[in-house]
């Protein structure tokens, strides 16, 4: 297996994240958990946007999303804007980016059942910053898999990679190579493409390789 990496600039090593959250306490909590090493975060407060729009005719949330073209969008699951963001996919039948739901609910039962029910990816406010990178990678990989299936118009039930495997492989790569979450994502994706393997196979290979090297 060839785990090649050609990261040249530091900017490329970070995900661009658009965070839509009106509650400053929640957004600060999340920005802190994400950390600035792995992510370039643009924070949008929709209430503030509407006020500005009313007063100076500035951009709407959708225009913001189009202009920023983030790698990932993080949205509070309790936000009224959830339907607005969802509609980007539903009305155009194309997804622009993976959407990750954020919740400050500490009840893990709730979060686990939502993940089980297939809500794309889900993070909660109290999650530690080490794990958050893996969770965002899961979102990216699942998004790509969905896109591929949508393009091929496959109608049989979706065979999506188990998120636990992606998470573990991401963690192993970060520790093994001392790289960022995005770099780990790129490695997994690129390896799958160049070797014509599924994401799941690549992730499994990485995990067994790491075990062999005594990484975990």
């Amino acid at each position: 297996m060839n785990l090649s990496m050609n990261m040249t600039t530091t900017d490329n090593a970070k995900f661009n994240v658009l965070l839509v959250e009106n509650d400053p306490a929640k957004s600060n909590q999340l920005i802190k958990a994400l950390g600035s090493n792995n992510y370039d975060i643009v924070h949008v407060n929709q209430e503030q946007l509407l006020q500005e729009q009313k007063a100076h005719g500035k951009k709407s949330l959708l225009e913001y999303v189009e202009q920023e073209a983030p790698d990932i969008l993080i949205l509070d699951i309790e936000s009224p804007d959830r339907d607005v963001i969802d509609s980007l996919t539903l009305l155009d039948n194309t997804s622009l980016m993976p959407i990750v739901m954020f919740s400050d609910q500490t009840d893990t039962r709730v979060i686990n059942s939502l993940i089980k029910a297939g809500v794309s990816a889900y993070i909660c406010g109290s999650v530690d910053s080490r794990r958050i990178g893996s969770l965002l990678n899961i979102a990216m990989i699942r998004f790509n898999e969905n896109q591929k299936q949508a393009n091929r118009k496959i109608s049989h039930p979706r065979l999506i990679t188990d998120p636990k495997i992606i998470e573990q492989a991401t963690q192993e790569l970060i520790q093994l190579k001392g790289i960022t979450a995005k770099e780990a994502y790129l490695v997994i994706n690129k390896t799958a493409m160049s070797n014509n393997q599924s994401i799941e196979d690549v992730a499994k290979n990485i995990i067994s390789l790491a075990k062999m090297l005594g990484n975990s």
Partner: protein, 358 residues
């Protein structure tokens, strides 16, 4: 007598979006209809249809008041993970309206040689649609959710007047942001449920030009939704839920009671909107604009029909009707549906069972 011991579950969580047609749920709670049927129901206020749906799918809540097309969308896996959701009861009909921004309405008046009459046909929009097309712009209309009657009603309104739906930009905006979006001219108009139409008029930012009664009257609007598996595990509880909500719908048939309902709903705990924006549609009055008298719209919010007591029955016909709109406006592919699909989602049998049961 009700035998409470037969209930599989007595503490129930019911999710809803705060709107005027949430009345049956709020009244069943406040007037003790749930309690009478042995149920202790907690109403869980939500702010996004997709999140409400996801919580129902995940079993985080027991049941929900959903937009009538949503159980069909869930059961087909449209916009989310395929999950078998059913409805044993229709909670309301009608209740939506198209409100245009004051600014846009003034433009319409200036562009149309004849006096505008209400309900307004969408053909009045044509001069502005054409003028914008020259500038490479479109008329922008908003609604709250794709799999909603609002969305299909606004498209029907355009199509009935021979306007190509592609000529208009339809976007989704959260109900609580609609008024601001209208005031900021981010959109030229919207199709939503109460209290947002009357609120736009009260705030002097909008003119309500047509109601859903004028577009397609007496179609299901909100339905009680459950997971098929939940109903299977809680058959007796389902029956008592339906009975309690049906009694609330009947209670809401009296005008005096509707005032009382409006007063209760204006409470911050529920809608938190002024009485003046909630009450009109409940008493068949459609506020038009600050400068014009209200228009009488019979059955603007309909919860119960004394002359056709099966209004609340989720019959196959209602389901098929919604289904045909979903297909017409390309939310559903033609070839993927089994013949008896609708009867597995719109469960009229459960409603009939509930009426027969003690």
């Amino acid at each position: 007598m009700l035998n409470v011991d037969l209930l599989e579950k007595t503490h129930i969580t019911l999710g809803y979006i705060p709107l005027t047609d949430s009345a049956p749920l709020i009244i069943a709670k406040e007037q003790g209809f749930f309690a009478k049927h042995g149920l202790n129901v907690t109403l869980e206020k939500q702010h996004s249809w997709a999140t409400l749906r996801d919580k129902l799918h995940a079993g985080v809540i027991d049941c929900a008041s959903l937009l009538a097309p949503m159980p069909i969308a869930s059961s087909l896996g449209l916009g989310g993970v395929k999950t078998h959701v059913i409805t044993p009861m229709i909670l309301s009909q009608n209740g939506n309206a198209i409100t245009l921004s004051k600014h846009f309405y003034q433009q319409l008046q200036a562009q149309n040689p004849t006096h505008l009459t209400l309900p307004l046909g969408a053909s009045a929009l044509l001069p502005i649609i054409k003028a914008r097309r020259i500038k490479g712009e479109k008329v922008r209309l908003a609604t709250v959710y794709p799999h909603s009657c609002h969305y299909y009603q606004i498209l029907t309104w355009l199509e009935n007047n021979n306007i190509n739906t592609e000529a208009v930009d339809i976007r989704i905006i959260a109900p609580s942001n609609m008024i601001q979006a209208l005031a900021a001219n981010e959109v030229d108009g919207f199709c939503v449920g109460g209290p947002w139409n009357a609120k736009a008029v009260r705030d002097d930012v909008g003119v309500t030009v047509a109601t859903s009664c004028d577009i397609w009257p007496n179609m299901p609007e909100k339905v009680l939704a459950l997971l098929a598996s939940w109903q299977h595990q809680h058959p007796n509880t389902t029956i008592q839920l339906v009975k309690a909500l049906f009694e609330a719908c009947k209670w809401l048939n009296s005008i005096v009671n509707r005032f009382e309902a409006a007063r209760i709903m204006s409470n911050k705990k529920y809608l938190g909107v002024e009485l003046g924006a909630i009450a009109p549609s409940l008493i068949s009055s459609c506020l038009v604009s600050k400068d014009e008298p209200p228009r009488q719209v019979i059955n603007y919010n309909r919860f119960y029909a004394p002359d056709s007591p099966l209004m609340n029955k989720p019959d196959i016909y209602s389901g098929e009707c919604l289904f045909s709109y979903m297909r017409k406006f390309k939310h559903i592919d033609n070839d993927i549906i089994k013949d008896n699909f609708i009867s597995t989602v719109y469960r009229q049998d459960l409603f009939v069972d509930a009426l027969k049961a003690k």
